[in-house]
Symmetry: C2
Subunit: 428 residues, 2 copies
């Protein structure tokens, strides 16, 4: 029986047109991020299972991790996120690395998920982290970077960046609501899911956790607070940090999209200070796109050293969906500069010879390698988005010349030999 | 117990300096290959197990394949080679794709191997293929591309490209030596291993296969033939093809390193015409680097369509070892253009503000985000290979200026505000 030509469920084939887009997007992101002094890194696709067992959320490890035993009985996993690899690599050189460490990566990651819009089993994720920088300045820098990568695609008008602080959330949950750590986690998860599950289910979950009507009202009051009103109601470090952060960023364009949002939770077991989420606020694509925040001691599981940081991760599918929705996808159609059309075997030999100096001069040059009818070969040139066809027929060979055809305008001219590269470049 | 910071056996971490090199090498390769009209593609890291069971060599599937059952009981494998993915993707669009299809990819591949020089469990492999092009012209083009990627790093003086033809080998094994298909396969494997196992073991293997002294002498006579002498002894299509191929390429620089070598086998079950191996012929690194050849009907396992082609694959470890041996590794040290040194919190705020227009102008700009002593911050700037330090101390803030220090020469100057970007660029 014939094998299927479909890729494995939840994964994508990247045909040339997909690759050009994928590559263009990540090259642009890299340029912007390297502008801020960030350096690229990468790690292996497989990591020891323990790396995730120790650090990743329970849901990822139990339900979404691709893991197996290798032929040497080592338990290995395909990376579901990049942070554990980042931690391992930084820990291995923590003493030598100049601080702050500014690193970014664009790994492909694997999660066993039910494929749906924006969620696939294999996706690429931009990871940007700054480690060992003083708090707030580093937080502010990461927000500037997050803003700038969206602005690089002219998408800044479609987003808001919602900011919160985990010290503030902890203070409200623990000090005001007197919730246990366990109940606080449950409540934060309910808040995270609120938009998805609806008001009724949300309230039901809070009651199930054991929150009283009064506690629910206090929470709701908190969620409806502005930064100013929160400050009069709750005194805590988190609020001071938030206020300073907004102050630091007030002259940067990011301030135009930055908004305090006490509902931003981002899971309770990882982040420790600033947390943020970049939202597409347009009616047609209203959704959280990506987020991040500050975490303490990334490298604790590797020994006694400590290093805290702030960072974010953004998936390629999310970004492409965003750019597509807002008609911001860059036009990166593949093209060939010159396509040689050949009338016989001698013409193919001639074309191969003529092509070399063109290629060396940076002109993308393709040969039909065929002696089919000129129209068939020109059709092929058009399919490849070739700009010029250089036609070598019997007459041309006899006269030691070539016919050059502009494939957009249809204009034809005679090209004398040897080909003048400067002239040819002008025609492209 | 603390977790190990080592990567999984046989894999590599790519720290920024490794990434800059890796990226530079593959960008250069991509430029050259796209110059010849080749287009990039990529596929998923996981493929159905059956894809390899059907096409890859037995050794790969039985001993080297990383495979497992996913949570939905699908048998999946981490790609050990790219050709099956290429076949699957091309088969899915075989009718629409303009021929010849010129595609290349730089996937990371996985094989369970005992790690040794040049062989790792995860490596990146450049794959270049042309499909549906007329024989020999396409073969010649692939050889030109193989030559050009080595020449792009100035390595062409250190290589030979040994060429053979499987029709010729088949003719000698089947028609001259009267070997069965099975014995021919065994004999070809012995020839492949000859340099590694030595003459004694090689001869022993031939005797074990059942070759007579006369047969061994005929084989040896064949292996010592030049193209001309072979032509007088053996008449077959393969020899005519080889002769035409050398003729086609006689005016291209590749002809300076191209050599007929009847010992090049490249496995009996895959290639069907031209086969070649690129050798490092220098005494210090004498080894086969990579190779390829012509194959029939890549896509047969997906249905009734047929498409043949020619291509090659080259591993990143092999290429890096080659470039290192010959001192051809490009110098791609990472660098920062401008590093801001700051005396107090106000200076950090000022630096963050001053940095933005620099970054927007394409100047790689990093902030210390610290108020440590200037010497400590300058040390950090040096570690990052920064070209200029812009120092903002109390005096500078008071006078609304900055001190700019060239970190190679030590020269210091006063920089007036606002920063003139053109002036600054001249200093970098």
């Amino acid at each position: 029986m014939a094998l299927s030509t479909k890729p494995y469920k939840g994964t994508r084939d990247f045909f040339p047109e997909d690759m050009y887009l994928h590559r263009h997007i990540f090259q642009r992101l890299s340029e912007v991020i390297e502008g801020y002094g960030y350096q690229p890194y990468d790690g292996p696709m497989l990591e020891p299972f323990e790396l995730y067992a120790a650090k990743s959320g329970q849901e990822i490890v139990e339900k979404q991790l691709y893991w197996f035993m290798d032929r040497g009985e080592r338990k290995v996993a395909m990376r579901p996120e990049m942070t554990p690899t980042l931690a391992r690599m930084v820990a291995s050189r923590v003493m030598e690395l100049p601080k702050p460490v500014r690193w970014y990566s664009i790994p492909n990651l694997w999660r066993y998920e039910r494929p749906q819009r924006g969620r696939l089993r294999e996706h690429w994720q931009l990871n940007v982290d700054i480690l060992g920088g003083e708090s707030l300045w580093a937080d502010a820098e990461i927000l500037r970077v997050a803003y700038s990568i969206i602005a690089a695609f002219e998408g800044q008008k479609n987003i808001k960046i919602f900011v919160n602080n985990r010290r503030l959330i902890n203070s409200v949950f623990k000090d005001q609501l007197k919730l246990s750590a366990e109940d606080a986690l449950k409540a934060s998860k309910a808040v995270d899911a609120r938009d998805k599950i609806g008001e009724e289910a949300y309230n039901k979950q809070l009651v199930e956790i054991g929150l009283s009507a009064e506690q629910i009202a206090t929470m709701e009051d908190f969620f409806n607070s502005s930064l100013e009103s929160a400050q009069s109601k709750f005194q805590c470090e988190g609020l001071d940090e938030l206020t300073s952060l907004f102050k630091i960023l007030e002259n940067h364009p990011v301030s135009q999209v930055l908004e305090f949002n006490p509902k931003v939770m981002r899971g309770l077991d990882y982040y420790t200070g600033t947390v943020f989420e970049v939202f597409d606020v347009s009616p047609e694509n209203n959704r959280a796109m990506f987020g991040g925040g500050r975490y303490d001691n990334l490298i604790g599981m590797f020994g006694n050293q400590t290093l805290s940081g702030v960072g974010f991760g953004m998936g390629d599918v999310t970004l492409k969906n965003f750019l597509e929705t807002h008609k911001l996808l860059p036009d990166v159609a593949s093209h060939i500069d010159v396509f040689f059309v050949t009338g016989n075997e001698d013409a193919i030999a001639k074309a191969a010879e003529l092509a070399e100096p063109l290629i060396a001069a940076g002109i993308k040059t393709s040969l039909s390698l065929s002696t089919a009818k000129f129209n068939a070969q020109l059709k092929q040139a058009n399919k490849l988005n070739a700009k010029l066809a250089i036609i070598l027929g019997e007459n041309e060979l006899k006269e030691n010349s070539a016919t050059v055809k502009n494939l957009s305008t249809g204009e034809q001219n005679t090209l004398s030999m040897p080909i003048n590269l400067d002239e040819l470049k002008k025609m492209i």
